[in-house]
């Protein structure tokens, strides 16, 4: 009704949205147009005085198109975005069991600390003498990460997990170049169960990707790796615990074999949260591993970023870490920002992967999380995460099928869709029905090696009562699916702000921005 483009913005006639209201609103759920549809070109929500007259020095490059972005006053802005927020599910509203994503509680102390002017209001290039506290914090965070992983060095600059992968793999490539083996070591081994970022990262910097099969128990076997190793192999990228929620039990033997073949072992650390304080990657033979601060150390996911992906490095790789390097001289800290000064100190940085020195805002949050937990709390968090996943697995194992048999998992429980066969309900349908029950669905169809995969990661933040309700609801759904109540699934979600969305239409005829409606006078011409 507020939609100026004639698109339907009210509920349709079918389903449970069929109770009609004049506005299209449904009590607390408000229809909210695009800001461009309610904004006006002359409206603004800031009070700025026009500067005194001046002669521009823009070299004649003056913008002449009036920009064309409608604005809103402050109260309108507030209401627009608060209403939008109400159409989102979030950890703060319920369990968010996305496997491999680690949606744990985001403590607000961490937000408050990151907003201290001494961290939030300092410029990356202001004199280093004026940011000693910030550099000290980064140095301390590095020390904590080194201790928790048992690795000798950390590159703090990567801006997200995939960016950490890129940095770690670049360090590996630099080490290979330094050994004079760049022309021969061109292949990276990646298990089929890996995150898509692994093969994409390897390919991005010119490696050829060769898949490693997983055995029927969901694990990579050292013999399968050995069969592929040779003088052409640069590295293996292995996720541990893996994407099936299992610890790779051959990992030490795999690391030994990889090293014996002159290659490097990159570990995808996305699931490090399962083992913090229990076992250290450095003790397993890892050469490089990124740590998703937004998973393991609880910096908020923020609807898809920002993340942070520091990458820990072994002695074989530490010298190749990218600029800038952080140095401690007595009680003071300094950034080494140029290749020349780094070389003078015996380092051989492979280059630089981002402007400045990394995600400081995320560092503060992660460090506050670590200080709060301490060594004892982080170990307990990992244990509780594993306990919770197994509790869900135990609660559902008689109704849902586990692809690798009934055995303990790490921090996430994996089911396949074998048990849905003949029901007419797919993994997608089951996930959508969970939405109507008030839950965010689990990760679906990943890992790719498991048919119709459902990967459930509750994290340590869920209470026993929360898990009991979640399990009871999934049991009810599972029994309904088996009893033939397919409509509850194929029509779901019926109670969410939107029913299922037409992704085919979106991809066939992409509409990627709002276009002002053509004025009637022009349209008539």
């Amino acid at each position: 009704m507020l939609n100026r483009q004639g698109r339907p913005s009210q509920a349709g006639d079918s389903g449970l949205h069929s109770i009609k209201t004049f506005t299209g609103n449904r009590a607390l759920e408000q229809v909210e147009p695009l800001l461009f549809e309610i904004g006006r070109l002359e409206a603004t929500g800031v009070d700025l005085d026009e500067p005194a007259a001046f002669t521009p020095r823009l070299g004649g490059l003056v913008r002449k198109d009036g920009i064309g972005l409608p604005g809103l006053s402050e109260p309108e802005t507030m209401r627009h975005f608060v209403r939008l927020s109400q159409k989102n599910y979030a950890i703060d509203t319920g369990i968010f069991p996305l496997g491999s994503c680690t949606m744990k509680h985001n403590p607000r102390l961490n937000e408050a600390m990151a907003r201290l002017p001494g961290f939030a209001d300092i410029h990356p290039l202001q004199p280093q003498s004026t940011v000693q506290g910030a550099l000290d914090l980064i140095a301390q965070l590095k020390d904590w990460l080194k201790e928790l992983t048992g690795m000798p060095d950390v590159d703090m600059t990567p801006k997200a997990g995939a960016h950490g992968e890129l940095s770690g793999m670049m360090a590996i490539k630099a080490a290979i170049i330094a050994k004079g083996e760049a022309a021969t070591r061109t292949v990276v081994l990646v298990p089929e169960s890996a995150h898509g970022t692994n093969p994409a990262t390897a390919a991005l910097i010119g490696f050829t990707v060769k898949p490693v099969p997983a055995r029927e128990n969901g694990l990579v076997h050292v013999d399968d790796v050995k069969a592929l190793l040779g003088p052409d192999i640069a590295a293996i990228m292995l996720t541990n615990p893996n994407t099936c929620g299992l610890f790779e039990k051959d990992i030490v033997a795999i690391a030994d074999a990889v090293h014996a073949a002159g290659a490097f072992f990159y570990c995808d650390g996305a699931n490090f949260n399962a083992i913090v304080g229990k076992v250290r990657p450095g003790d397993l033979g890892v050469d490089a591993m990124h740590i998703n601060l937004h998973k393991t150390f609880s910096t908020p996911h923020g609807g898809g970023g920002p993340g942070a992906g520091p990458v820990v490095l072994s002695d074989r790789l530490a010298a190749f870490a990218p600029l800038p390097l952080l140095e401690k001289n007595g009680n003071s800290f300094a950034l080494c920002e140029s290749e020349k000064t780094a070389e003078a100190r015996g380092a051989h940085p492979y280059g630089r992967i981002t402007a400045f020195q990394g995600q400081m805002g995320m560092f503060v949050r992660a460090f506050a999380y670590m200080l709060s937990h301490g060594a004892d709390g982080m170990r307990q968090a990992s244990e509780d995460a594993v306990l919770n996943a197994n509790y869900i697995r135990a609660g559902l194992r008689d109704l849902m099928s586990q692809p690798f048999g009934d055995k303990p998992c790490m921090h996430e429980a994996l089911f396949d869709d074998q048990w849905l066969k003949e029901t007419g309900v797919t993994t997608l349908d089951f996930a959508k029905a969970m939405i109507d029950e008030g839950f965010h669905p689990m990760t679906m169809y990943f890992p790719l090696v498991v048919h119709g995969a459902m990967l459930i990661e509750p994290t340590e933040s869920e209470s026993k009562a929360s898990l009991d309700l979640f399990v009871a609801a999934l049991r009810d759904l599972a029994m309904a699916a088996k009893a033939g109540d397919t409509e509850r699934f194929t029509q779901a979600p019926r109670l969410a702000p939107r029913r299922r969305l037409d992704e085919t239409l979106a991809a066939r005829k992409p509409v990627l921005k709002w276009v002002p409606p053509t004025p009637l006078s022009e349209a008539a011409e």
Partner: protein, 446 residues
């Protein structure tokens, strides 16, 4: 531990329900000899009060921009961010949600991403923008890779006015991927002539405006020369507020526009998190990196939004993906969108005029200081001066007087022979008193 809900009774009840005797029975896959017997060698848990005390102590050792006369720019800028912005991005439903994989319960995130894409495309004068990148420098690296895919060539030419960190990111990526780069020497006065270097091997030319030294550049001739040779023009900016006042790159023929969006909605944060902006022409949309949000309808015909064109991305295309990027800079793009909404065209253009006017005032005052030469023929809110002595020690001396005066070129470009060059920015936060304090202090140390 205050973040962990279980009591010991809960834990033993749950272990019993699972059928495990002890927690370590669930860690059976871990090689027994590698399991840590004791907690790692780090301090034990701390209360909120203790943590706040420690971090407060570290924060107090830094000098925040808003407490001193502040003229530091060169890729990140101090602006006033309205209080509404930070309140909205701290809404639980935005802060603690994930990438919108289930669009039925993520319309809030998806709609603001659609609004963000519209704002970025409109500001840059381009057809389409993505849902953001990590920051401006990584967006620049991705733009070069995209140009290589589009042109099926692999040589990039980087202007000597490109931010050195951005150039280094491109050089590093190119070195690793066996692509070619020609980087021009530091070009303080925007005097370089790139056109003759563009040949039929060239994939793209990367030019920043306002450039690293603050100069504005007309890209039209370079765009024409690129197109004549089948190459793409990548336009870069680090100060997005400039687009409120200057000709957008899209209007000068750029094929890809990338930049840093930190100035709108986001704090300085010592370098991150920021928000990378990425826009291009419609015909290249399937070669774009990063997330894209698109409009569609739901099963009842109501308008809704989804992530779309996902087959470009790593989770589907794996080693053939356009990029390895997985996240965008979601919450920072929300901050951008909220601040941009508050500004509107009206507010943005006025903000840009204030920035420009303040920079003009500063330049004119500095021109009157003995030992200072303002070098720029044109600028927006940032310019370069030549001092009568090396800039780095001067900046340190001013810092000791609690004035943060700018960025010595030597810090980012140590071998350029520009040790006496200093880059200063002046935004709406600077007062006449700030400028007077800077000038007075400079006179003392020069």
């Amino acid at each position: 531990m205050r973040y962990l809900p279980h009591t010991d009774t809960d834990r033993s009840d749950m272990l019993a329900a699972i059928g495990a005797g002890a927690i370590d029975d669930l860690f059976t896959g871990v090689p027994a000899e590698k399991m840590l017997k004791d907690p790692v060698n780090l301090p034990r848990r701390k209360s909120e009060l203790e943590v706040a005390r420690i971090l407060g102590g570290l924060a107090a050792k830094n000098i925040p921009a808003s407490t001193v006369p502040f003229f530091v720019g060169a890729g990140a800028y101090k602006h006033h961010v309205p209080a509404t912005v930070d309140h909205l991005i701290q809404r639980s439903e935005f802060l603690t949600s994930y990438t919108p994989y289930q669009p039925e319960i993520a319309q809030g995130t998806l709609q603001y991403l659609f609004e963000f894409q519209t704002q970025v495309a409109t500001l840059t004068g381009m057809d389409v923008a993505n849902a953001s990148m990590y920051d401006g420098s990584t967006a620049c690296g991705e733009a070069v890779l995209m140009a290589h895919r589009v042109t099926k060539r692999n040589k990039a030419i980087l202007s000597g006015g490109l931010h050195p960190h951005y150039a280094e990111v491109v050089e590093t990526l190119s070195h690793m991927a066996n692509d070619r780069v020609t980087r021009l020497p530091a070009d303080v006065k925007a005097a370089e002539d790139i056109v003759p270097l563009i040949d039929s091997d060239t994939s793209c030319v990367v030019v920043q405006t306002p450039d690293f030294f603050g100069n504005l550049r007309n890209l039209k001739a370079i765009a024409d020369a690129c197109h004549a040779k089948g190459a793409l023009l990548i336009a870069v900016f680090t100060e997005v507020v400039s687009l409120g006042l200057i000709t957008p790159p899209g209007a000068m023929g750029a094929d890809i526009v990338v930049g840093e969006g930190q100035s709108i909605g986001n704090a300085l944060n010592f370098g991150g998190p920021y928000v990378g902006l990425f826009a291009t022409k419609s015909q290249y949309v399937r070669q774009m990196p990063g997330r894209l949000c698109g409009e569609t309808v739901d099963a009842e015909g109501r308008r809704g939004f989804v992530l779309t064109l996902s087959t470009r991305e790593q989770h589907i295309r794996r080693d053939k993906a356009t990029s390895n990027i997985c996240t965008n800079s979601g919450l920072c793009s929300l901050a951008f969108t909220v601040h941009m909404t508050l500004l509107g065209s009206e507010g943005l253009s006025r903000l840009a005029r204030i920035n420009h006017a303040n920079a003009i005032k500063l330049a004119d005052m500095l021109a009157g200081v003995k030992g200072v030469d303002v070098l720029n023929p044109s600028f927006f809110n940032e310019f370069t001066v030549k001092l009568n002595k090396p800039a780095a020690p001067v900046v340190e001396k001013l810092a000791a007087k609690k004035i943060l005066a700018g960025v010595p070129v030597s810090r980012l470009w140590p071998d350029a022979g520009l040790d006496d060059h200093l880059i200063l920015a002046s935004t709406e936060v600077n007062t006449d008193d700030d400028r007077a304090a800077l000038v007075a202090a400079l006179k003392e140390v020069l």
